[in-house]
């Protein structure tokens, strides 16, 4: 197994060849904000929160899909990066209807905690206030599209881990929507195995267990990682 040495935020670290910059940073105890990244499923580099600066490259690169290379110098925390990260979150808050006070995920929401962490105290853009429905037709789970940030973590865990392919993205642009089968009610889905992995994956309160009240939606995401490691790497002790 060959290793690569690199510098992240001035710290010399070594990482396995083929590892992502995000993995290398996490191992070295350096926290990079992420939203669409989920341990256990493949990365798509879509949320742009983990963008980092690499010396000598004038484009910002997503840490989750960029592989480590010998001698690169990575900056994960700069005035400019944090400004862009705050703006990305502002855009998300303005895009759909995120009302923390009445959300099942309040206090356990990745979007919320990222906003706290980056010191975001208000949104400067006009709220779009789109009308999105809530699908509560499933026996066990619900989906509130108002709180969806289109990270596609549920789509990926449904396909990659469960293998059901019940969820996918329909439409495009701001009209994109997470669907069940042929855009039908979740309760009518024939392919859903009711495994709940999508609910476990959701970073916000968009997917929830029925019956949970405000702030009750805690999720054990390590289970997803455990399954994948057990299955693919034959590692039963995650």
């Amino acid at each position: 197994m060959s290793a690569r040495t690199l510098t992240i935020d001035g710290k010399q670290i070594s990482a396995e060849k083929g590892a992502s910059v995000l993995q290398a940073a996490t191992e070295a105890g350096i926290k990079i904000p992420t939203l669409c990244h989920l341990e256990g499923v493949y990365d798509v580099g879509a949320c742009r929160l983990c963008l980092v600066e690499v010396k000598g490259i004038n484009k910002l690169l997503p840490a989750c899909t960029t592989r480590v290379a010998e001698g690169i110098e990575v900056t994960t925390n700069s005035e400019r990066l944090n400004k862009y990260r705050r703006m990305t979150l502002e855009l998300l808050f303005a895009e759909r209807n995120h009302v923390c006070a009445v959300c099942v995920a309040n206090g356990h929401c990745e979007l919320q905690s990222l906003a706290y962490g980056l010191g975001l105290d208000h949104v400067r853009y006009d709220y779009i206030f789109p009308r999105w429905e809530v699908d509560d037709t499933h026996r066990l789970f619900g989906m509130d599209h108002n709180r969806c940030i289109l990270c596609t973590r549920c789509v990926r865990s449904c396909w990659h881990i469960e293998g059901a392919g019940t969820k996918n993205v329909a439409g495009r642009g701001a009209k994109s929507k997470i669907i069940t089968d042929l855009n039908q009610k979740w309760g009518d889905s024939e392919s859903c195995t009711e495994c709940g992995k999508c609910v476990m994956s959701c970073p916000t309160g968009a997917l929830f267990k029925k019956g949970s009240a405000v702030g009750e939606s805690e999720r054990d995401r390590t289970k997803l990682e455990f399954i994948v490691n057990a299955r693919e790497k034959k590692q039963w002790n995650a």
Partner: protein, 175 residues
């Protein structure tokens, strides 16, 4: 011995042919899918053919495609709604597609759209209540030399003024 084995073995289920409704178009679609060797990467080709046959992609058709290509229905629906060219709603008897590419836009295509919208009392992307007319806009049909271009039922017409377009649309509505 081998004969016994062969007879005892349950016969493989005959692949479902056509569609329960007996609609012949499903049969044609099936032949097309076969010609494409049931390849999953041919999904867009298959959807083109399906829309050509049915005029639009209803749930039944999407499900048929999904079963025949062995793709999750959500994948098929996701692809069908990603591309502008596919429509999941039935279209009117006639379609009028106004090109809204830059060249057409600077030469007044927006006024053509506005005139038809006002006359037919529909917005672009909609079909009139009497099902005579669907009004659509295109991103650029590459006929910039003859801007503004409008496609009436598949026929491209050059240098259209709001009056030209209205005359054509009126003739359809009154027919």
């Amino acid at each position: 011995m081998s004969e016994i084995l062969a007879t005892n073995r349950p016969l493989p289920a005959k692949p479902a042919s056509g569609h329960a409704s007996g609609d012949k178009r499903f049969k044609i679609l099936e032949v097309h899918i076969k010609k494409l060797q049931f390849k999953q990467d041919a999904l867009i080709e298959v959807l083109h053919k399906a829309q050509e046959l049915f005029g639009y992609l209803e749930d039944d058709v999407l499900l048929f495609v999904s079963h025949h290509l062995k793709l999750p229905p959500s994948r098929v629906y996701g692809v069908a709604t990603f591309y502008h060219f596919f429509t999941l709603k039935p279209q009117g008897e006639h379609t009028c597609v106004v090109c809204m590419g830059t060249a057409c836009y600077v030469k007044g295509a927006d006024k053509v759209v506005a005139a038809i919208e006002k006359f037919a009392k529909i917005k672009s992307g909609e079909t009139t209540a009497n099902n005579k007319l669907s009004l659509l806009t295109a991103r650029c049909i590459g006929a910039c030399g003859i801007a503004p271009a409008v496609t009436y039922d598949g026929q491209v017409a050059a240098k259209q003024s709001p009056e030209d377009a209205l005359a054509k649309v009126k003739s359809w509505m009154e027919a």
